[in-house]
Amino acid sequence: MDYALIVFANTHYAMTAQKTLGGKLPVVIMPTLREISKSCGISVRVAEGDWQAASQILRESGMDHTMYQIYSVQGKDGVNTVALLEG
């Protein structure tokens, strides 16, 4: 895994999650990968080792767990391989 990507059901959850996670973990806002189609266009990228902490922070914030998913992303030769980690 190169990094973990949190994708959201809509833009408002994505922006809320960014604010919730920001300051607690290093996060980067990035466009949702084309390989992940069923989500809004804004995703939150976290380091490989941070995705479980991110998941816990979002759970504890009360965010509806059905409104986001967490994927692992591995990139090679310009092709991304994604796998569902949670959600």
Binding site: T11, A14, M15, I29, M30, P31, I42
Partner: protein, 197 residues
């Protein structure tokens, strides 16, 4: 005796324009007096681009930049160490968000734009920040990181010094060169196309 140009108290880009006028008038040696380091850096850049040497001396709150024609041809801008895959285009950023519907959404869109640009192959030759756009390389950590990647890949990043001063954030610039209207307009005019955000 070499002319002395008093540009103290002149706002960017006046010192550079005054020096350029002296060069265009055929002068081989002259001195420009300014009162801030940004003007010194911009004058040094001008000297380099015009085939002059520039010697800087500092007195009490005054910098004297002595221009002397070096006899060398005006500097041709070197190709970046890692050539940009894209063509000769420039990106002009006049806002710190994309669009005007919602500020928070616009902030996220511009972060994603620079993320995507930094990951891609078609890179601009120059990225130019003015007005509210200068807040991005100064205050937005995420965009600044993407800009560092772009700079490392050969993009030249110019940030308007007047604008940084206006917002009081000149000391917070994280990436790019403090620049002026003279340089920024030249980059726009030299580019085959300019994309404006």
């Amino acid at each position: 005796m070499a002319a002395i140009i008093d540009a103290k108290g002149k706002a960017c880009p006046m010192p550079v324009l005054m020096a350029k006028k002296e060069i265009d008038g055929g002068s081989d040696a002259f001195t420009v007096e300014v009162d801030n380091e940004t003007a010194v850096r911009n004058l040094e850049k001008l000297a380099q681009s015009q085939g002059f040497s520039a010697a800087v001396s500092q007195g009490e709150g005054v910098y004297s930049v002595s221009f002397c024609r070096s006899g060398e041809a005006p500097a041709v801008r070197q190709a970046p160490a890692v050539p940009a895959a894209g063509g000769n285009w420039a990106l002009f950023v006049g806002h710190d968000i994309i669009g005007d519907g919602d500020r928070e959404l616009g902030t996220n869109l511009i972060r994603m734009f620079f993320y995507t640009l930094a990951q891609g192959d078609d890179l601009p030759k120059a990225i130019l920040f003015m007005n509210g756009g200068v807040k991005l390389p100064a205050l937005d950590d995420q965009v600044a990181e993407h800009l560092k990647v772009l700079e490392g890949r050969g993009c030249e990043i110019y940030v308007c010094g007047t604008c940084l001063n206006f917002f009081g954030i000149a000391d917070q610039l994280k990436v790019g060169s403090v620049s002026n209207m003279y340089d920024i307009s030249k980059q726009m005019l030299d580019a085959a196309k300019v994309i404006t955000l």
